[in-house]
């Protein structure tokens, strides 16, 4: 029996692989900036994450009796791996990125049915799990290189990550420091004003943090590229960043001594990578235009609440995971008005 082909009888203009490749391309400026300011740690972590991601993906596909090639070549494991690498500190024991990635791919992705079926953002599930289990290792960053101070070279970074060996005459506490978001949280908690904190610690810049400002701008650049390429829409980033700005703006107007200004929150922490690269993960985000606005606002609000009152310095990962749960409900109640269906005579 001849197979009947059905319309449309065209070639396709898009593919999952193309979309994922463009996301990776959009991450390149941020990757280079990260290397510039924080050394080669992210490259080491990326390699560990990518190898783990593809190994676990292949094993899971085999166990689930799925064809390997179409799914290994779709690029989704690569994106998950890179996002985890960006979330981790450059100086960190090798098994932490490995565990985070394996958890993301095995538990968060394949146990829920693989590509397209996972309700929770895999990268954020892996990251959040590690953040809960190893909070100290997960929030200690090395200071950003300014060309004058101490820098860690590739081999020292690799030695520490693989064997836990520190360079001579250094201790772990000497070469790491809290992130600006974390430091502000701690110091304001101790009763200092935002201005005092920002003036007395080296990791702060005029806007947020040394090196971090540039990194955020690179995520913004990559995000705009993704919007231009129609890989993501503006709704989620605008809603999320807008909500963070409004919430932090209200707090700032109320008490500027203990609340940093909105720019600090929008450029700071994981706001930018979260808004453009994590919250916009198509599989786990809302799909309707209005739904995406609500979803983004929810993430922004939860992020700000955790930053202001929660136990963690940042809240993007939890914001995303919590809003992931709400997606089916949001989608159901935000269906667009169908052509020919009136607003009231539906």
């Amino acid at each position: 029996m001849t197979q009947i082909h059905t319309s449309p009888h065209t070639t396709f203009i898009n593919s999952v692989g193309r979309m994922m490749t463009l996301v990776v391309v959009a991450l390149i400026p941020a990757m280079l900036t990260y290397i510039w300011f924080f050394g080669w740690g992210i490259v080491i972590n990326s390699v560990i994450c990518i190898v783990t991601a593809y190994a676990t993906e292949a094993v899971m596909l085999r166990l689930r009796k799925r064809p390997l090639w179409p799914f290994l070549s779709d690029g989704s494991a690569l994106v998950t791996a890179l996002l985890i690498a960006f979330a981790l500190p450059p100086i960190i024991a090798w098994w932490i990125p490995l565990l985070a990635t394996a958890f993301a791919i095995i538990i968060a992705k394949h146990l829920y049915g693989g590509l397209g079926y996972n309700p929770f953002n895999p990268a954020m599930v892996g990251y959040a799990m590690l953040l809960i289990v190893f909070p100290k290792q997960m929030t200690a960053w090395i200071p950003a290189s300014t060309g004058t101070g101490w820098e860690i070279n590739f081999f020292d970074n690799l030695r520490y990550n693989l064997f836990g060996d520190l360079p001579a005459d250094t201790t772990y506490d000497m070469i790491t420091q809290a992130t600006p978001m974390d430091m502000l949280d701690i110091q304001v908690g101790l009763g200092k004003t935002v201005t005092q904190v920002e003036n007395s610690f080296a990791q702060f810049s005029q806007y947020f943090g040394v090196g971090w400002d540039w990194l955020s701008l690179m995520f913004l650049l990559g995000g705009l590229f993704l919007i231009y390429k129609r890989i993501i829409t503006w709704h989620i980033p605008v809603a999320m960043l807008g909500t963070i700005a409004v919430a932090s703006g209200i707090a700032y107007l109320y008490d500027s001594a203990s609340n940093p200004d909105p720019l600090f929150h929008v450029l700071g922490g994981a706001s930018m990578i979260g808004a453009f690269f994590i919250a916009t993960d198509p599989v786990t985000a809302s799909t309707t235009p209005i739904g995406r606005l609500i979803y983004g606002m929810g993430i922004g609000l939860i992020t700000y609440i955790i930053r202001a009152w929660g136990g963690y310095p940042d809240g993007v990962a939890f914001g995303v995971l919590i809003m992931n749960m709400a997606v089916p409900t949001i989608d159901y109640y935000t269906q667009p008005r169908v052509f020919g269906h009136g607003r009231d005579n539906d």
Binding site: I4, H9, F12, N14, S76, Y117, P289
Partner: protein, 513 residues
């Protein structure tokens, strides 16, 4: 300039129009054999009124319309009826249909034509409609709805706007564009006849802006004929701008409600080719026996537009257009976005065959579908503003209630969602499947409703019989009881009398002592 509105979604598609517009419209040869399906329109199939062996003339009715929504079929050339039988016909399912087969005699001898009606303005609109109906005219844009029905405003309804659809938004198809370039006069005449039949207030001709030659040809003709009250509306090239409801939205701003027809809102849309057919039927009395067919695609050596007799086997037309059947991957009737595949190229050209698209392997994608990643690109391009990926989930899960709650039946199957899908999911195929299943369920439900009614009535009769029987029994019993009761009364009286007797006897005994 006239205001234009926009509809949600849609796509900018590569037109591929130039390849079939290099040559003027050519006249295709009359084939040795004509195959005339009885069903070339929406509605009831026509019924044959000729017999095998009968000689027929060009333009002679060979099958008569059956009922209101139907259209007659005419012999598209003279010859002898050799068979009335099932033949492969162009249909999405690839099924066969009853056809009248005519061996042509190369004389192309016309029958006596209906008197021409140059003065159609004096005619009653209903007489005009009958004339158009008898000419077998159906919508030539592809849907094939009998035209005379769409020329009937019905009751006292006022038709505000009559639109001629020259959008031709599907890639590759150029039959309307070429007709506009070559026969603007006939188009305008047809439009004016339609206007008279509908008593429409305003007339518009909507043309996509990728057809400058057609736009200027029509505009020039309007100026020459001093028919400037007809507006040419140039609309942006955006697929599916030619879809009826999207077109109405674009040129009038009116959004036809989902459950209504344009007619209900005082708007009627007709195709360019239909207008020409109407003018020929009314002004020269000629029924619909031919149409312009675009033969194009990358497997065609001489792409172009052909005036072909209805019933010409497709392979005859492909031969004239020099289609390389070895490199041809698919033969599609209609455009690449909404057309359907023809599996048997002996199928005849129908009244609705606007285009034969012969593609090569490179025109199609052969990659397997991946899971939906919910990117929402389908939502962005859907001209009906549906949520295609939700519809897909429910269609796949066979959850037809939810499919309908997500307005499955508002899908116009334009194919935009499938075209942009990064996972290459044949979305439209799923929607068609779900619609067909729902229709089948409804048919079954109707059948079972009917069966249930019969069953219920049967039960009712049984029940009634039971009740009647019971009633009869009850009455009988009551009668019996009554007789018994009367018997009892007699007993009581007798007993009382006996007691009285006994007492008397006792007293007598006592006194006697």
């Amino acid at each position: 300039m006239r205001k234009r509105w926009s509809f949600h979604g849609g796509l900018k598609l590569e037109g591929h129009k130039a390849i079939s517009m290099r040559e003027p419209i050519a006249t295709a040869d009359i084939p040795a054999q004509l195959i005339l399906p009885l069903q070339q329109h929406i509605g009831e199939a026509a019924y044959p009124i000729v017999d095998v062996g009968e000689r027929v003339l060009t333009g002679q009715i060979v099958a008569q319309a059956e009922g209101y929504v139907s259209a007659p079929v005419h012999a598209s050339s003279s010859g002898t009826v050799t068979a009335i039988e099932k033949r492969p016909v162009a249909h999405p399912s690839g099924m066969h249909g009853t056809c009248i087969v005519i061996e042509t005699d190369a004389k192309d001898e016309w029958c006596e034509l209906a008197p021409h009606q140059a003065d159609y303005k004096q005619m009653d609109p209903s007489a005009l409609r009958n004339l158009i109906r008898d000419a077998g005219i159906v919508g030539l844009g592809g849907a094939g709805f009998p035209t005379y029905i769409k020329l009937n405003p019905g009751g006292r309804r006022q038709i505000e706007t009559l639109i001629l659809n020259g959008a031709e938004c599907e890639p590759y198809i150029t039959c309307d564009a070429m007709t506009m370039q070559e026969s603007p006069r006939e188009i305008i005449e047809g439009l004016l006849i339609m206007r008279h039949a509908l008593q429409a207030r305003q007339c518009l001709i909507a043309i996509e802006d990728n057809k400058p030659a057609a736009i200027s040809a029509i505009s020039d003709a309007l100026t020459r004929q001093e028919k400037t009250f007809i507006d040419v509306v140039v609309i942006p090239t955006r697929y599916p701008a030619g879809s009826e409801k999207q077109l109405i939205k674009t040129v009038t701003g009116i959004e036809i409600p989902s459950n209504k027809l344009p007619l209900h809102c005082g708007v009627v849309v007709h195709n360019i080719g239909t207008a020409v057919a109407v003018s020929e039927a009314v002004l020269s009395g000629k029924p619909l026996i031919s149409r312009i067919v675009t033969v194009t695609g990358h497997a065609v050596a001489r792409p172009g537009n052909y005036r072909a007799r209805i019933g010409t086997p497709m392979h005859e037309l492909l031969r004239q257009a020099k289609v390389d059947t070895d490199t041809m991957a698919r033969l599609i009737m209609g455009g690449p976005m909404m057309g359907f595949e023809i599996l048997d190229n002996t199928s005849p050209v129908l009244k609705t065959s606007n285009c034969l698209l012969a593609t090569t392997r490179q025109d199609h994608d052969h990659s397997a579908a991946m899971p939906c990643i919910r990117c929402g690109e389908c939502t962005r391009v859907c001209p009906a503003n549906l949520l295609p990926q939700q519809l897909y989930w429910y269609a796949r899960a066979k959850d037809f209630d939810m499919s309908q709650r997500y307005n499955l039946f508002d899908c116009i199957e334009c194919g935009c969602c499938t075209y942009v899908c990064p996972s290459h999911i044949p979305l439209v195929h799923y929607y068609r499947f779900a619609k067909t299943e729902i229709w089948a369920q409804e048919r079954d439900k109707k059948k079972s409703d009917h069966a249930r009614q019969r069953h219920d009535y049967h039960q009712y009769r049984l029940e009634r019989k039971k009740l009647e029987d019971e009633e009869r029994r009850r009455k009988k019993k009551a009668l019996l009881k009554k007789t018994q009761e009367t018997d009892n009364k007699k007993d009581v009286i007798a007993a009382a009398l006996a007691r009285v007797e006994a007492k008397k006897a006792q007293q007598q005994q006592e006194t006697g002592e």
